[in-house]
């Protein structure tokens, strides 16, 4: 048995990826669960509208507890309920207070508190605050009146499924081609390297699209998830996002020699995305450093788009930022992936000297 144990340790020492996972994974989980795993939203962002807006702001400022819990991000005495709703739709605030002449005529003058139900944990915290105010205010939960978890999860899940196909399935598909030696067979066939890359990726792109439609429709049908916004915005966001995750998948395949390695690396990119994209733990409740890691993941931005479009009918103005960031990510990841893959397919056709292909070549013989 001693021989087995010794051999196993020796093998592990050679397997840098597993070693990295053994050390990296606990560290990552520690960071995530230490700093990110927090369902409690401590501070709610508030927008205030109507003639009494300034008084509300002063009221909050004079009450130490309220000042801790509420962060007034916008005060517009000249605006009304419509403006307040827009603030929530575009995720500028977690709740909005409409006062005085900002209210509809039939409201009887009682201030109205609007709560963004698509931000599940913030909405729950807001509900507690509003309940404490009793009859002093009317309140309405928008977008997800019953605070149903599935309504928030399904849009995020669409992104997760696209990530799964784009990253894991695509990298396995490509690595299998390398592993079985068919990739070099393709390279000597009369295909351009662009044709090889596109031919290889298109099926996964289409499959991911089909999956996206199925999950969206099933989510709407089984869980009654609404689709309030623009289909065009959703499809556009999903398409760009897919390019970004396909790019990551191809990149993973270019640094992996076999399926096992590809799965390992893909899992190491998937896990933090699931945990830090805001789909499970609210981004607002994370420590700033960890939240910024979350901002580096495409899934974070797609979740903003899918939840924004499906639940809140968010404006193009709001969607512009996540869309723009996804475009940049798609260009970087996909561009890098194509460059690397092209070089591994036909190094003789690229002008730059080969350095990183060295290991492959030695192993090949």
């Amino acid at each position: 048995m001693r021989a087995m144990v010794l051999k196993e340790f020796r093998e592990l020492r050679r397997d840098k990826r597993t070693l990295a996972m053994l050390i990296g994974l606990p560290l990552m989980l520690l960071i995530i669960f230490g700093f990110a795993a927090n369902f409690t939203v401590d501070t709610l962002e508030v927008a205030v509208a109507g003639s009494d807006a300034d008084q509300v702001e002063q009221l909050v400022a004079s009450n130490p507890q309220a000042e801790d819990e509420l962060d007034i991000v916008a005060t517009e005495p000249g605006e009304g309920e419509a403006w307040a709703r827009d603030q929530l739709a575009d995720d500028h605030a977690d709740l909005a207070v409409v006062t005085g002449d900002g209210l509809a005529d039939d409201s009887g003058g009682t201030p109205l508190v609007l709560i963004d139900g698509s931000n599940l944990f913030a909405a729950q915290a807001a509900n507690v605050v509003v309940a404490g105010l009793g009859d002093q205010v009317d309140h309405e939960v928008l977008y997800n009146p019953d605070l149903t978890t599935s309504w928030v999860m399904v849009p995020a899940l669409i992104g997760l499924i696209l990530t799964f196909i784009g990253t894991l399935i695509t990298s396995i598909g490509l690595v299998r081609e390398r592993e079985s030696g068919t990739l070099e067979q393709l390279a000597v066939m009369p295909f351009s390297s662009t044709a090889v890359i596109l031919g290889k990726i298109t099926p996964y792109f289409l499959l991911a699209c089909v999956d996206m439609v199925i999950v969206t429709v099933l989510g709407m049908w089984v869980f009654d998830v609404p689709f309030n916004g623009s289909v065009v915005a959703f499809v556009l966001g999903a398409g760009i996002f897919l390019f970004a995750v396909l790019g990551i998948g191809v990149l993973i395949s270019t640094v992996s020699q076999n399926t096992g390695q590809a799965v390992q690396v893909a899992m190491m990119t998937l896990l933090p995305q699931v945990l830090l994209s805001g789909m499970i733990f609210p981004l607002d409740a994370m420590a700033a450093g960890v939240r910024w890691i979350g901002y580096l993941f495409p899934l974070t931005w797609f979740t903003k788009i899918s939840q924004g479009v499906m639940l809140r009918d968010a404006s193009w103005e709001y969607l512009a930022l996540p869309l723009g960031i996804l475009v940049v990510m798609a260009c970087v990841f996909f561009g890098l992936a194509v460059l690397r893959l092209r070089r591994s397919i036909s190094p003789a056709r690229s002008h730059t000297p080969q350095v990183e292909g060295a290991a492959d070549g030695v192993e090949a013989r």
Binding site: Q185, P347, G361
Partner: protein, 318 residues
């Protein structure tokens, strides 16, 4: 054995001994592969060091060498799968990058088949890729299992399929990397029949192999050791300068043992012993010392013995 120098680079060109340089327009059209002084470094490691090689139409050129000699790396450079660090390679009259891939057939060591697809689906894919509309029929052995997954058929048939796919588009140049490894002798003979038929039809073939019987079927050979060229020419040319001593003894096992104990590189061939790369005097002396009665004679070395000798000379030189 000294390294092949640049001056004899193209001299061993096509089958004749005309000593052409391979650069005239006429011979160029027939030279399918022309690799000159090609080297490949992976970091500090030199996998191929100053190899030159040419393959003409209708020729079978064998690339020999021990495992790790750099054969596959050289093939990969010729195919454009690896960029050469230095030297020049022309394939089908142009650079590897621009070579007409529809005129190139390649069977890699790993066969490059899609093992989860059926035989028919593999053939269909290759035919589509090369734009072949008139697909030649599968050989009978393959036709019987055409709807089965490639993974479920034996290695011999898989190799046959890989050949079939590589020849589908009637290439002018065929590159084969250890095409018969792991194949039984009958299937091997069949694959070599195919190779000869292709060469007879004017196809140039570059093949790597470990089997000496196969090497002897090649028109010309190039032998590599540790990335460097150590011998080239026809089998007769390569073996001509090497000799072996054959030992006929009634007590062949004692003779064999005595030669081994004397530290000579002795090999058994039937009931005779063969010692390559040693003078007949040394062999006689070893036998006399052990008092083994035997008759000795000097004969031309076999290809296998020559391989061992050039490999040893290269090691001593390096």
């Amino acid at each position: 054995m000294s390294r092949t120098t640049e001056t004899d680079g193209g001299a061993t060109g096509t089958t004749g001994s005309t000593g052409h340089t391979g650069s005239s327009g006429d011979s160029r059209s027939k030279t399918l592969i022309d690799a000159r002084d090609v080297s490949k470094k992976f970091g500090e490691f030199t996998a191929v060091d100053g190899m030159s090689l040419d393959v003409g139409a209708g020729e079978i050129v064998g690339l020999l060498g021990a495992n790790g000699a750099g054969k596959t790396t050289l093939l990969r450079m010729i195919l454009g799968l690896e960029a050469a660090t230095s030297g020049a390679i022309s394939v089908l009259g142009t650079s590897t990058a621009r070579a007409d891939r529809t005129a190139l057939g390649y069977v890699p060591q790993g066969l490059g088949l899609y093992t989860s697809l059926t035989l028919d689906q593999n053939v269909e894919f290759v035919a589509d890729a090369f734009g072949v509309t008139d697909i030649p029929p599968l050989p009978a052995a393959l036709a019987a299992v055409r709807t089965r997954q490639v993974a479920s058929i034996g290695l011999g048939r898989q190799r046959q399929l890989a050949f079939h796919c590589a020849l589908l588009h009637a290439p002018r140049l065929l590159v084969l990397d250890e095409p018969t490894s792991g194949v039984d002798p009958l299937a091997r003979a069949r694959l070599w029949d195919t190779i000869h038929a292709q060469a007879d039809a004017g196809v140039g073939v570059l093949v790597t192999t470990h089997y000496m019987q196969e090497a002897e079927q090649c028109t010309r050979l190039a032998i590599m050791s540790h990335g460097r060229p150590v011998a080239r020419g026809t089998t007769a040319e390569i073996t001509a300068s090497h000799e072996a001593v054959v030992v006929h003894a009634d007590d062949w096992s004692r003779a064999f043992a005595a030669l081994g104990e004397a530290g000579l590189p002795v090999m058994l061939a039937g009931r005779t012993s063969r010692v390559a790369g040693t003078t007949i005097e040394d062999v006689d002396a070893a036998l006399d010392a052990a008092a083994v009665p035997a008759r000795t004679e000097t004969v031309p070395a076999t290809l296998e013995e020559t391989m061992v000798l050039v490999e040893r000379a290269a090691r001593q030189a390096g």
